[in-house]
């Protein structure tokens, strides 16, 4: 049974300019012990999805207008703030993109770790300190006992993200949501933080949702992948399946646009850019939201009717009238070059 089941989630922002349909009918589930990757560009709704799960969206202007978030049989969207506080940390913890701003600069990191522990467990300060040291050692911060009394500015970006991970783990969550956990970090630091997260996931027997714009990061870290575009899920499959047989034109284009170290598009020199940019979510295209940027659009009714998410193969879902395997002629689109 799935640990987390998100069904038809819609989170809209009611602004003066109009209703922004930031998350518009998103469904997925996270299995126990597995990592789900959510990939997409800025503004596709991936972070708002995560914040909606955690009950952290700013209300107003945002509102979950429909859908459910079933966690362990409970619908999180119906819980009170008090009940949600217990779910956060104990059940679901989250780490954020920017380790520079997510720690309080005026408190020592010891204080920041132990306040979480003591909020959720009935332990003495001494016990909490002991646990904090263990956690810092778990996230491989050297000289953990001494560093407890240091302020955040004495830590580098990578080290701060480790502290954030330590705080997230402090109450043994069953699900860890990592929202762009390594985007602000150098590649080498990113690699070590990703490796650390993967090790900890096994050790703590957690499930994980990793949110990123980087196809490379999900390829490394995720078991299953959800690709989001303009507030919707456009493709959903296991990691191997998605990279072997990408179906949605957007997924294909994302992979083609990615500068790579190895592979076909290195030698060819030019990247396959996606023309245009993502739609305005106040007035998204009425039919397929990727339509205006899609190279296959226009030949049939996908410019009139909105394509639905459908299971094209077992476990492989796609929202497009022109998935790769249904195109006439070549299965792989010709390279632009």
């Amino acid at each position: 049974m799935a640990l987390l089941d998100v069904t038809d989630l819609r989170t809209h922002f009611f602004t003066r300019e109009g209703t922004v349909r930031a998350v518009d009918g998103v469904s997925f589930s996270v299995e126990k012990g597995k990592t789900l990757g959510i990939v997409g560009e800025s503004g596709c709704g991936k972070s708002v999805t995560a914040l909606s799960i955690m009950g952290l969206i700013p209300k107003p202007p945002a509102k979950i207008v429909s859908g459910s978030v079933l966690y362990d049989g409970r619908d999180l969207t119906t819980l009170s703030e008090r009940q949600l506080e217990d779910v956060r940390a104990r059940e679901i913890a989250m780490i954020f993109q920017d380790p520079m701003t997510s720690l309080n600069p005026t408190l020592t990191i010891g204080t920041q770790i132990t306040e979480t522990i003591r909020r959720h467990y009935d332990v003495s300060q001494k016990q909490a300190n002991k646990k904090a040291i263990e956690l810092l050692e778990k996230v491989r911060i050297p000289r953990a006992p001494e560093r407890l009394s240091d302020y955040p500015h004495r830590f580098s970006g990578g080290m701060r993200q480790r502290v954030m991970i330590a705080i997230a783990l402090s109450c043994d969550p069953k699900l860890l949501i990592a929202d762009e956990p390594t985007t602000a970090l150098d590649v080498t630091v990113q690699a070590s933080v990703l490796d650390l997260l993967d090790d900890l996931r096994h050790e703590y027997d957690m499930s994980m949702i990793i949110i990123t714009h980087d196809m490379g990061v999900v390829a490394e870290a995720a078991d299953d992948i959800v690709v989001m575009y303009a507030g919707q899920v456009v493709e959903h499959a296991s990691t191997l399946e998605l990279f072997d047989n990408p179906e949605h034109p957007y997924t294909e284009a994302l992979l083609g646009a990615l500068p790579q170290l190895e592979g076909a598009n290195v030698r060819q020199g030019r990247l396959t850019a996606i023309p245009g940019r993502p739609p305005d979510l106040i007035n998204p295209p009425e039919a397929c939201r990727f339509g205006p940027r899609c190279r296959y659009a226009g030949s049939d009714d996908c410019t009139v009717n909105e394509p639905q998410l459908r299971e094209i193969r077992r476990g492989h879902w796609v929202r497009s009238a022109h998935p790769a395997s249904e195109r006439s002629g070549s299965r792989v689109p010709e390279q632009v070059g």
Binding site: E41, S42, D186, V187, T188, V189, Q190, A191, S192, L194, D195, D198, H213, D214, M215, G216, V217, A219, E220, T239, L240, F243, A253, L254, L255, G256, A257, L258, P259, Q260, L261, E262, G263, N265, V266, G269, R270, L271, T272, A273, I274, P275, R277
Partner: protein, 288 residues
């Protein structure tokens, strides 16, 4: 790669040290940060040399010192044989027509109170080029070249997305028809699909105008397709330099290998192997 072997830019033993000061009223120097610590390289006309490294490796400082936006502590920077470090203000100002920069962050590098047209045309005004009418025509041409709708010259930067703003920044850099452009992380603030557009644009412009690029980036995957040669920096020094193909397929230094192994590649099958490699390299670097 360029067949012209004439070096457009020659950097020799470049140093930039920043003093570390302590004390509130009476400051004294207690040490120094050697941001750039003896860097030498040539950039040939028409080629792209990329400086790669992590944050703090000194790559951007090197770029700034090349353009004399920062005064180097010591060392020589020669542009077409002219020693830049010895030029006076006015001479350097004239020299800047030949060398321009594209910044990382298109959100903070454009003056929000200037219109797109003013931003792109400002270098022309500063250098007293053309009449008002000439400049207006030139601005439209430049915007057209970078794929930005020229009818938007009277709009303000905040009305545009990151990719569009970066096009404005590039148009401005092109305004004086420079020979050398320092691209300081030009795409790292952009989304993947937009990144590709800008990288392709930079490549096209290089071909069309015979530009020379000093390309500064931390992302080795981005750099790969752009560069003729690559210089890897770590802690203010050049660790390794060579033809792009060489550095990627046959890196010599452990540091370069570690950098390469850290780049996430979109191939889930290669994951295990790479994790193993990273672990080995991390411990090798920790010992060495």
């Amino acid at each position: 790669m360029s067949t012209d072997n004439q070096a457009l830019l020659q950097v020799t033993d470049l140093h930039k040290h920043f003093p570390i000061r302590e004390g509130l009223l009476i400051e004294r120097k207690v040490g120094e940060v050697r941001a750039v610590d003896g860097v030498s390289f040539d950039v040939r006309a028409g080629e792209t040399l990329s400086l790669v490294g992590e944050s703090g490796s000194g790559k951007s400082t090197t770029g700034f010192c090349v353009l004399q936006l920062m005064k180097p502590t010591s060392g020589s920077v020669k542009f077409e044989g002219t020693e830049l470090t010895e030029l006076g203000r006015e001479e350097m100002r004239r020299m800047r027509r030949e060398m321009q920069i594209v910044f990382q962050d298109p959100y903070s590098s454009l003056d929000p109170r200037m219109t797109v047209g003013d931003i792109v045309g400002e270098p022309l005004v500063v250098h007293g080029i053309g009449t008002r009418r000439d400049r207006a025509a030139r601005i439209r041409d430049l915007l057209d070249v970078v794929g930005f709708n020229p009818s938007f010259t009277n709009r303000y930067p905040h009305e545009f997305s990151g990719g569009q703003r970066q096009r404005i920044g590039i148009a401005r850099a092109l305004a004086l028809s420079p020979k050398l452009i320092v691209c300081d992380e030009p795409v790292s603030a952009l989304d993947v699909s937009i990144q590709a557009q800008i990288l392709n644009l930079l490549k096209d412009l290089q071909q069309d105008f015979g530009l020379t690029y000093l390309f500064i980036a931390h992302d080795l995957a981005v750099v790969r397709g752009m560069s003729d040669r690559i210089a890897v920096m770590n802690q203010g020094r050049l660790v390794e330099m060579g033809p792009a193909e060489e550095v990627y397929t046959n890196p010599q230094e452990d540091y370069t290998k570690a950098l390469l192994s850290a780049v996430p590649i979109p191939d889930p099958r290669a994951m295990k192997e790479r994790k193993e490699l990273r672990r080995k390299l991390r411990s090798a670097l920790a010992e060495g």
